[in-house]
């Protein structure tokens, strides 16, 4: 009698053990997520848009959107990749309007590639070496600016944010072969300035 009564209990315990543990989304603690990824998202948006205020605004929107849709994050990709995807979508929505293209150049907070503040100072390099490196870097920035929006996005995700190709595919919502095609074309273009 006891055995019969115990069997359902054992079965229930076995079923209980097979149930996946409840995963807590990293986006539940938004302050930590913000502290970890805010600088990275801002950097990506700043050099994609070349507008400080717009980059700041879209960075905030990225985290706001992430918080609102945190339930849809299933952990299939890294939190950074998911945030990048939100940021890319926000940029896409924003740049759909023609007004953006017109005001992009005229914006007071526009970031110019030849701004010496954005040039990295080469510690330990001679003055001549630092100058040459700066000129080379400026040429690369100019080349990056000449890329199409999609190529620039992929190039920055790959070489500034150091995402893997499959992560870029997730972030941009593009098929992997398309990502590769855009990336190699962008790299072809940039290599000319090397």
């Amino acid at each position: 009698m006891f055995e019969q009564a115990a069997q359902p209990g054992h079965l229930a315990l076995a079923e209980f053990e097979q149930v996946e543990p409840v995963r807590v989304s990293p986006f539940e603690d938004m302050s930590e997520v913000h502290a970890l990824y805010e600088a990275r998202i801002f950097r990506f948006l700043l050099f994609l848009l070349r507008d400080r205020d717009l980059a700041l605004s879209l960075t905030q929107d990225t985290f706001l959107t992430a918080w609102r849709s945190r339930a849809s994050f299933r952990g299939e990709c890294a939190p950074a990749t998911w945030l990048m995807r939100i940021a890319v979508n926000l940029v896409r929505n924003h740049t759909r309007t023609g007004a953006f293209k017109f005001w992009k150049r005229a914006a007071e907070t526009a970031v110019e590639v030849d701004d010496p503040k954005i040039q990295f100072t080469h510690p330990g390099a001679s003055a001549e070496g630092a100058l040459m490196a700066r000129q080379q870097l400026q040429q690369v920035w100019t080349r990056v600016e000449q890329l199409s929006g999609r190529q620039r996005t992929i190039f920055l995700l790959r070489f500034v944010d150091e995402l893997e190709l499959n992560e870029i595919a997730v972030a941009t919502g593009l098929p992997l072969p398309t990502v590769k095609s855009h990336l190699y074309r962008a790299l072809d273009h940039v290599r000319w300035s090397g």
Binding site: D115, V140, V160, K180, Y184
Partner: protein, 161 residues
């Protein structure tokens, strides 16, 4: 494995961009590694490209930090108009609202309802006192005639004569 010559640039006449990306991401194929090991030009190019991309990344990070720093004080300047509007609202309240409030306060200070009966009573008292004054201080000639006076009878006698 064949190495394509995609364009006439001397920098990339040996490795394609796909192969270069493989090298940059530390997942190159064995053929690529073998080629780079024996090719001075490709070795120089990959070194140069690595340096440039590292500079690009570090420059972007430094610039992003710089611009985030600039954005901080800017937020304060953006808040300045809000503070100004708040001050203007307070000033408006003080200049318009406060006098109105004070006026109302003083208006309510006087009990209007209680004052009305007091005024009515005083008016009635005033009227009765006027009435009394009139009744007590009327001079004799102005009193209403109650009967025939002696002068009247004299004049009537003279007429008969």
């Amino acid at each position: 494995m064949s190495f394509k010559t995609t364009n006439s640039s001397p920098m990339n006449s040996h490795l394609t961009s796909e192969q270069m990306d493989g090298l940059l991401s530390a997942r190159p194929s064995e053929d690529v590694v073998r080629h780079v090991a024996g090719c001075v030009r490709c070795t120089a190019e990959i070194g140069s490209l690595r340096g440039v991309l590292t500079g690009l990344r570090e420059g972007a990070t430094a610039a992003a930090e710089h611009h985030r720093g600039l954005a901080g004080p800017r937020n304060h300047t953006r808040r300045a108009p809000q503070v100004a509007w708040s001050l203007a609202a307070i000033a408006l309240f003080v200049s318009v609202g406060a006098p109105l409030a004070v006026h109302r306060f003083h208006g309510f200070d006087r009990p209007a309802v209680a004052a009305q009966p007091a005024t009515a009573i005083s008016d009635e008292a005033l009227l009765s006192s006027v009435q009394d004054d009139l009744s007590y201080s009327v001079p004799g000639p102005l009193l209403p005639l109650t009967g025939a006076s002696p002068s009247d009878s004299a004049t009537s006698t003279q007429r008969t004569n």
